[in-house]
């Protein structure tokens, strides 16, 4: 009998990590969009990069339980690093991407070491403050960042020396898709690993995790750093595909926005960003085209309605609906 339970338990845990067919859907859609919406690839590339950014936020928010209103600090750091290199003759995109991740990780690690001992509202405020200070610094250091006018003179070379960035955004889209894929692979592996499991434990019951001897603080700093690197990659993507970096990449507006998008999609389910970011950005694009003056109202209303009727974001709603469907089926 115990044998049976054991093997069932083992099978359950093994199965959990395997790739399910539904997980291929976003990739199929993304590749399909390339062919179906050739006029929208510039927007598409930005959506993909923002999904990567959202994924980085979901890692700390949904899995480690760190509420951050300052993740744009890492995004912007990555963007400015890639941008700076491109403006100084080192425009190879992949190089810029790696450098961006390194710089963002550095900032993430340092700020994490300082602030991650706090909790609750304090952590929120500290992440916010770090972001604002970084933005102020970028504003002041005009010679490096171009200040409020933005970084000028970026010249991004073709990807891998072959694919030139065109006006329609085809290269940008594919490049962003590939980078997102790698980011996703990393995130997924992380989340299903013992490390990832321990993060969930930290989020749910810190005291217990301390009691069983988990090095909580270092785990948190580690995921924060990884997340920062991912956000930096997203920033580099935006910088390279738009050939622009400005102070809004370091703004708390952006930090708040990405937080809203991830919560909208559903936190802690790995795919919240994949759902929330495109839906939100498309909704915003549509609303602002239909009602350029008052689209804020419709977006705000959408958010309120989602919380009222779809707790846990869109994915939460889907999960609830699936559960209800299964219950009904069992009867």
């Amino acid at each position: 009998m115990t044998q049976d339970l054991d093997s069932r338990a083992v099978a359950f845990f093994v199965r959990r990590h395997r790739l399910r067919p539904v997980e291929l859907v976003p990739w199929v859609l993304a590749v399909g969009a390339f062919f179906v919406f050739p006029d929208y690839l510039a927007l598409g590339a930005q959506v993909l990069a923002t999904i990567l950014f959202g994924l980085s936020v979901d890692l700390v928010l949904g899995y480690a339980g760190i509420v951050t209103l300052g993740h744009a600090a890492f995004f912007g750091m990555g963007a400015y690093t890639a941008g700076y290199l491109a403006a100084h003759g080192m425009g190879a995109p992949v190089l810029g991407l790696i450098a961006a991740m390194a710089m963002a990780a550095l900032v993430g690690c340092l700020s994490g070491l300082v602030i991650l001992r706090a909790q609750g509202l304090s952590i929120l405020m500290l992440t916010l403050v770090v972001c604002v200070m970084l933005q102020e610094a970028a504003n002041k250091l005009t010679s490096i960042t171009g200040g409020a006018d933005g970084l000028q003179g970026m010249e991004v070379s073709p990807v891998l020396g072959l694919f030139h960035f065109d006006l329609y955004g085809k290269t940008a889209y594919c490049y962003a898709l590939v980078v997102l894929f790698f980011g996703w692979a990393v995130a997924r592996t992380l989340v299903h690993s013992p490390f990832g499991r321990s993060l969930t434990g930290i989020r749910e019951n810190v005291a217990r995790m301390h009691a069983i001897g988990t090095p909580v603080f270092f785990r948190l700093v580690t995921i924060y750093t990884i997340s920062a690197a991912m956000a930096g990659a997203a920033g580099a993507l935006i910088a390279e595909t738009t050939q622009l970096v400005a102070l809004n990449a370091l703004s708390i507006d952006l930090s708040g926005l990405i937080l809203v998008m991830v919560i909208f999609g559903g936190v802690g389910r790995l795919y919240g960003a994949f759902v929330g970011v495109p839906l939100y950005m498309i909704a915003q694009d549509r609303f602002s085209e239909i009602d350029p003056t008052y689209w804020y109202f419709w977006i705000g209303l959408l958010l309120v309605l989602v919380v009222m009727f779809a707790r846990g974001g869109i994915l939460g709603l889907c999960a609830a609906l699936i559960r209800r469907f299964e219950q009904r089926r069992r009867r």
Binding site: N139, G150, L167, Q243, A246, L247, S288, P292
Partner: protein, 398 residues
């Protein structure tokens, strides 16, 4: 919450265009990138109103068979990445004949390469950073640069015999331009700027900076902040700290003595001298007509400012291209007409585009705040005619 009429017009326009009514209709599309939401919507709103008014009142002047479709997109603020994407979409998806607008300089700089690559003329209706017109051969600007506007007030201040000056500007590029423009001409006229301060962009309360000015005891202080509610905050701090009683004179540009904010500024604005391209109190007939049309369209309480006139004039230039070519032109032909464009009868007086720089040449007026019919107004008392952008003269292209 009613559906905006703009949406209905766009919908009807789009369906008409789709059906291809009346056979040989030429549709000219103008893509306006403006700021319509968020904390910085005030200037965008003024600019849009000016654009809309021109389109509405000049419909009959279009050649037969030509109609103009306006497409507005919201960049939500100084977001060059969004502006660039909007410009790209307007060009690749909507196939606009003109790009227009741009409240913020970073946004205009981001739109420039899109204009170049797609050969679409871009009429910059506000963004005032001096180098913008150099970023693309397809940019023409009908607004101003801060060097153009701040220079004359520096000159005027020096002429009053004031020797000690102080500059206080907001810490962002237009502020630096204004500071440079004033300082250069003030010192050329014999004065000396004894100290300067740059004020953080997000400042709500200007008291600490005004106190610094008071401490230094200059004869004249030049203050520049972005057009909008910050202007009122500066004036309130100026009044609260009693600078006038301390013997310091305030001079500024039209951004601080902003026509729209004058009702909020009230009594403290009396006597304040500023330089500007447009005051809604100007008595020239072209302005009277403009104000009348404005009041009819937007109500008696609505006040136009220099942004509105820039929108109006920018559309006038676009319409002139359409009229001169009968609605059939490509980007290069449009640019040829735009680069040489003149209007002797703009609400702000005679303006023309400088073919060498594609910047606007216009009169700069020195105005004083006075009560006119019980309301504070910028009354023009001196004119410096046909001012070119001094920054371009001093910095020829390499």
């Amino acid at each position: 919450m009613q559906i905006s009429s703009r949406f209905l017009v766009a919908l009807i326009g789009a369906s008409l265009a789709g059906i291809g009514i009346a056979g040989a209709q030429t549709e000219i599309k103008v893509g306006v990138i403006s700021t319509m939401s968020g904390p910085d919507a005030q200037p965008g709103d003024e600019m849009n109103k000016g654009i809309d008014l021109y389109v509405k009142t000049h419909e009959k002047e279009l050649p037969p068979g030509v109609k103009v479709t306006m497409i507005y997109r919201d960049d939500t603020g100084a977001n060059p990445d969004i502006a660039k994407r909007l410009a790209t979409e307007l060009v690749t998806r909507d196939h606009v004949n003109f790009l227009a607008g741009a409240v913020w300089s970073p946004n205009a700089s981001a739109i420039a390469p899109v204009a170049t690559e797609s050969k679409t003329p871009f009429v910059d209706m506000n963004a005032a950073a001096a180098p913008i017109t150099r970023l693309s051969p397809y940019i023409v600007r009908d607004s101003f640069t801060l060097w153009q506007v701040a220079g004359p007030i520096g000159e005027w201040a020096a002429k009053q015999g004031w020797k000690k000056g102080y500059t206080a500007v907001t810490d962002y590029p237009p502020g630096y331009d204004a500071e440079g423009g004033f300082t250069t001409s003030f010192e050329k006229g014999g004065g000396k700027v004894i100290d300067k301060v740059r004020m953080a962009f997000g400042t709500d309360d200007y008291a600490p900076f005004i106190q610094r000015i008071k401490d230094s005891k200059p004869d004249v202080a030049f203050i520049f902040v972005p057009a909008g509610k910050k202007a009122t905050a500066v004036m309130k701090a100026w009044q609260d700290l009693g600078l006038k009683q301390a013997g310091v004179t305030l001079v500024t540009t039209q951004d601080v003595m902003l026509d729209e904010e004058l009702p909020n500024i009230g009594q403290v604005g009396i006597g304040i001298v500023s330089s500007g391209t447009y005051s809604d109190a100007a008595t020239r007939p072209a302005n009277q007509a403009f104000i009348n049309a404005w009041r009819v369209a937007y109500g008696d309480k609505a006040i136009p400012d220099f942004l509105s006139v820039q929108g109006w004039d920018g559309m006038a230039a676009i319409y002139d291209v359409i009229k001169q070519t009968g609605g059939k032109f490509d980007g290069d032909q449009a640019m040829k007409i735009l680069t040489d464009w003149k209007d002797a009868n703009s609400p702000r007086g005679p303006i023309s585009i400088n073919p060498a720089t594609r910047d606007v040449i216009e009169n700069i007026y020195i105005r004083r705040g006075e009560m006119v019919s019980g309301k504070l107004a910028n009354v023009e008392f001196d004119t410096i005619p046909n001012v070119k952008d001094p920054w371009k003269e001093a910095n020829p292209p390499k």
